[in-house]
């Protein structure tokens, strides 16, 4: 007979770490422990409270359908917010969406948000945009909170010292219904970047170098904490770029301890605490940094002074070199699996070993995505292209991460800089990051992209992607070949 009151231990439980036995804690452990609704026993997962649930049209329909089937309400609509991003068109946004699947997903989200009482920022709204741009910009993403979204790049929000990670559709349903998730503790990895970045080297180059170093599986099972003087010196936008791509290193999440840069970014944002509550919040946020004697399960070190602008040559984000480098020769790779993957990648990318990266011509430049579409990214891009013309035959798309970023950019006159340059200035959304809407590469087309994934077909069937920073994207758009910002007049560098 079964015992109906107690559960046998979960079979798939892992005993990766036992946080309760450590007195000194890392940032990740502090946030985790502050959200424990129930500590799992006998290897069962912990039950973790979720402070903020971001919803978009692609991974939510079945979750809402599941709630409906079981007659369950959304437990905390006041901790939930939805926006439209993956499928939204970035031109003619006032016209009906042509693609039927896209239109259905968006209409379904609108119906579900209305039925379940969830705040939605639809296409055309000033706060519409990529979920990972919208949360921080509204001041909803705050230090020490837990954030989830049915999207792997939820790791972006870790830049504020939040524990933020992507979840699957059934977990979306679970959070909607219970505002909690059963989770097994993650391991912790410290990634320390000390020193000063050279001019022209940005957060994007740091994270591409990290991934090239630890590999696309190097972070598996870990929460990464980025630390060191080079990280402290970064703006919030830069930290978001780094945390965003933690997922490309295989990690569940990335985090940066909150500091004065974080507080200055948050202060005065619509949902940031006000008055006395602000002081209480800041006092708490200051306690979140990893304790000096906290132990990480793994540690990685990088020297910021040595980093150069980076670019990928292959079909995963770990296949990258500096722009001054060349396409590597698979024959020189000792690991047979790595060699086979490089051979396949070069065939897909149509590149010969030994080709200098700067000799590679592109057909398109995509400036956008949740990695690099915030106002600072657009300013960086504009600082290089201002007063110039793009290379002939290169299509340049600039897609702001949110409608708010678009408005800000226009107020600063950046739109004029882009259009004078010959770029297309578009409406907010994921756009060519994943080519779910009509913004896609044609087969064989090559693109320098500020997004985060260079998988086969990611930006359109047969499309070839080189991941780069906004500065490298700008220099490339000017010269038509992959270029370092220093190749186009160093005096305009930010």
């Amino acid at each position: 007979m079964t015992d109906s009151t107690t559960a046998p231990a979960a079979s798939a439980a892992s005993t990766q770490r036992t946080p309760s036995t450590r007195t000194a804690k890392t940032l990740a452990e502090k946030v985790w422990d502050a959200h424990l609704v129930k500590r799992g026993e006998d290897g069962a997962p912990d039950l973790i409270y979720i402070d903020l649930h971001l919803v978009h049209e692609v991974t939510s329909p079945q979750a809402f359908d599941g709630l409906r089937a079981e007659g369950r309400p959304v437990r905390r609509p006041d901790l939930t917010i939805a926006t439209e991003d993956h499928n939204t068109p970035t031109v003619d946004i006032d016209k009906p969406i042509a693609d039927i699947t896209s239109r259905t997903q968006i209409e379904t989200l609108r119906r579900n948000a209305a039925e379940f009482g969830i705040r939605l920022h639809p296409l055309g709204d000033a706060e519409q945009g990529i979920v990972h741009v919208v949360g921080p910009q509204l001041g909803l993403t705050q230090p020490g909170i837990t954030v989830v979204c049915g999207d792997s790049h939820t790791s972006t929000h870790g830049a504020f010292g939040a524990m933020a990670f992507g979840i699957g559709t059934s977990e979306v349903e679970h959070v909607l219904a219970t505002q909690t998730l059963p989770l097994t503790p993650f391991k912790t990895m410290a990634i320390t970047v000390e020193g000063t970045l050279k001019p022209g080297v940005t957060a994007k180059d740091v994270i591409l170098a990290v991934i090239a170093k630890i590999g696309t599986n190097g972070g598996q099972g870990y929460v990464l904490e980025y630390r060191g003087s080079a990280i402290r010196a970064l703006s919030m936008e830069g930290r978001m770029t780094i945390c965003n791509m933690s997922i490309e290193a295989g990690a569940r999440a990335g985090m940066v301890a909150p500091d004065d840069t974080t507080f200055a970014y948050l202060k005065g944002r619509p949902h940031a605490p006000k008055g006395e509550q602000w002081d209480q919040a800041v006092a708490y946020w200051r306690t979140l940094a990893s304790d000096d004697d906290a132990v990480f399960d793994a540690e990685v070190f990088l020297d910021a002074d040595e980093l150069e602008p980076f670019v990928t040559w292959g079909t995963n984000p770990g296949q990258g070199v500096t722009l001054a480098g060349a396409v590597p020769d698979p024959a020189s790779m000792a690991d047979p699996q790595q060699r086979a993957s490089a051979e396949r990648a070069l065939e897909y990318m149509d590149l010969a070993p030994g080709t200098p990266m700067k000799d590679i011509r592109v057909d398109a430049v995509f400036m956008g995505s949740c990695t690099n579409s915030r106002i600072e990214d657009l300013r960086a891009f504009a600082s290089i292209v201002k007063g110039r013309r793009k290379a002939d035959g290169v299509r340049v798309m600039v897609v702001p991460g949110s409608a708010r970023v678009r408005l800000e950019a226009e107020a600063e006159g950046l739109d004029k800089v882009f259009t004078d340059f010959g770029a297309e200035w578009r409406f907010a959304g994921c756009s060519m990051c994943l080519g779910m809407n009509p913004d896609q590469l044609a087969p064989g087309e090559r693109c320098a992209s500020t997004s985060n994934r260079n998988f086969e077909g990611r930006q359109g069937k047969g499309g070839r992607t080189h991941l780069v920073s906004p500065l490298v994207a700008a220099a490339t758009a000017i010269r038509g070949t992959l270029s370092s910002p220093s190749d186009v007049a160093s005096e305009v560098l930010v």
Binding site: M1, T2, D3, S4, A7, P8, A9, A10, S11, A12, V37, K38, L47, Y49, D51, L52, P61, Q62, D65, G66, A69, E70, R72, P77, D78, L79, T80, I81, T101, T104, Q105, T108, R119, G139, L140, Q142, I145, G168, T169, S170, E173, H174, A177, T178, Q179, T180, P182, P270, H271, A272, P273, Q277, W278, Q280, A281, Y284
Partner: protein
Amino acid sequence: MEPFTTHTGVAVPLQRSAVDTDQIIPAVYLKRVTKTGFDDALFAHLRQQPDFVLNRPEYVRGSILVAGPDFGTGSSREHAVWALRDYGFRAVFSPRFGDIFRGNSGKQGLLTGVIPEPEIERVWRALAAQPGIEATVDLEAQTLALPGLAVPFEIDAYTRWRLLEGLDDIGLTLRDETRITEFEAGREAWRPTTLPIGTP
């Protein structure tokens, strides 16, 4: 979720190994926005072959699937479980399952029982002798019984308990609802809410 104690229905011999989730439900069906109505998508490509087992009239109403080794391997799509469930399957037996598929099944009320290959083959022979006969799955006793043949199956204790109790993940968590409410009562007032600004 409905509790699973015993189930009696038509047993279907799927005499194939390594039926991955892409065969269970091809990728083109993943674009839908519902969680139900995937019955037509189940084995969509295999069903185009006239001699595929589910195309035989005696198996059309099948609800117990008896498959070869490595069932449900490959991509983690939850739709594979939805499609089996929507078609009417309550239980699947195989000598080996893909891990993620197995995890997803247990969460959604589809029983996955492990039966060693020689026993699976005995079941196949028994079904071939009498196509369309009913079998009974007894989760308490952990047996799959056909007329004249009963084979034991394995299932981990935790999943078995959840199936017997009819607890999906959410149901399981909601058993701790008092704790969730208590936790919520202790949350600091300054933590963000998404309520439109100006709403108390």
